[in-house]
């Protein structure tokens, strides 16, 4: 479902509306603009291995033609919000899983997106790092960004008490306003 939402894949049939726009009809020219308006966090972080932490985040701004001054201003800020000020010059393979995931979140946030899509963000993390990531996502949500998180982490879901949409074999089986994990 996440792949469909970020248009990494197209559905065989049907439409997907995001903010009133059918994203299945986006052409290759419009697609980058759409992706810049949604933040995405991946289970495997998807960081660029040959770029440092701050370059990885700056890249997302560079591709949208943001000015150098603006990039210099915003990158440290967003790194501070995920507590990574001291890792700016590290390369992804020098980071722990939790740190890498926080870089991925920072990159997703740099455009101030209205929607943040997180695909199993805690899937590769130990419980402590998972909690840290969950706290950050919750904070982002409080600041007004819609966070869509796909997860199998029962503890996380039960602790957050947010809206829970359960899916089984591609179909929604429940939708609770302050839900718990559904087996």
């Amino acid at each position: 479902m996440v792949k469909l939402l970020i248009r990494e894949e197209r559905p065989g049939k049907g439409s997907i509306f995001v903010a009133g726009r059918d994203i299945t009809k986006l052409n290759s020219f419009d697609l980058p603009y759409y992706r810049r308006n949604i933040g995405t966090v991946f289970q495997d972080y998807k960081l660029l291995p040959t770029k440092t932490v701050s370059e990885n985040i700056a890249y997302a701004l560079e591709v949208s033609g943001e000015s150098d001054e603006e990039i210099k201003r915003r990158v440290p800020k967003v790194l501070k919000s995920v507590n990574l000020e001291d890792k700016t010059q590290s390369y992804p393979d020098q980071l722990s899983g939790g740190e890498a995931q926080r870089v991925s979140i920072a990159r997703a946030l740099i455009h101030n997106p209205k929607i943040l899509i997180a695909d199993e963000p805690t899937g590769n993390l130990d419980p402590e790092a998972s909690r840290e990531v969950a706290d950050i996502l919750e904070k982002i949500n409080c600041l007004g960004t819609t966070v869509i998180m796909a997860t199998h982490d029962r503890e996380l879901v039960d602790r957050m008490r947010k809206r829970v949409v359960a899916m089984k074999e591609g179909r929604i089986i429940s939708d609770q306003r302050h839900g718990r994990y559904v087996c």
Binding site: P32, R36, K46, Y59, A60, S64
Partner: protein, 303 residues
Amino acid sequence: MTTIRRIFREAFTDFFRNGLLSVTATLIMTLALICVGIFMVMFLSTNKAIADLKNKVDIVVNFKDDASESLIAQLKSQLLSRQQIKTVRYISKDDALKEFQSRDSVKSEIRQIVTAQDNPLPRGLQIQSVDFAEYDFVSSLIKSAAYSNFIDSSTYDDNKETIQNINSSTSFVEKVGLGLSGIFILVAAMVVFNTVKLAVFFRSKEIDVMRLVGASETYVKTPFLIEGFLYGFFATIISMGVITGAIKLLGVISIGSVFQRFIEGMAPIFFSQFWFITFVMLMVGMVIGLGASWLSIRQNVAS
């Protein structure tokens, strides 16, 4: 403008950070370009040698003493009217004598007999042509009725075999040279293509990530193309360095050996054509590098 600057910076940063991959691709390309370079030097040297040889081959037509000056002048102007004929030099009796006297091989007794007062040496025309096939025309002309009675001898028949040999070896060298260059460039292109393809394949995940964070197609692909160009660019510099070094080194170590003359003949041609060879190599390197990158991206990176 900012975007172009960033794309270039992106390409240069990637080139240097993917050190091993860049070095491998550049070195493979270097090997290919060295082959191309050596081939060009060989080709130019052979061409030069053949051109020199062509200049040395000429026909001398000797006239009987009863041939009038106006007849000789008529033949001369008739020959000069042909485009393929480069020079026609009139050799007067005095010229022939001077040349004869200056020859070392002539014995001094004979030298004393042949004097300006009693000069049996004939007048002649020395003919040089750009195209060897033209000598056949010269031959048929001097054998025509208008001239044949006044012509004592000509060196056409002596030189005929040499001329034919040079003619056939010229076209042979040209054909083989072109054929082998073509094969070399093709093989080089394929090897480089595979190396670059591997490089792009290793990084296809990165390309996906770039797209997922909202980079446009141009922004993703152009740095790879520039990297392809950089492989060619650096490979050209290294190849020219290696060939220059090799020619200078061989110039020193070949002294006294059988290769000395060969290297001595090749070195000035290489240095006089240095920029031309560099240009051709850069073009070949650039086309292969850019082409390989472009094809690899198309194959490995689905939109």
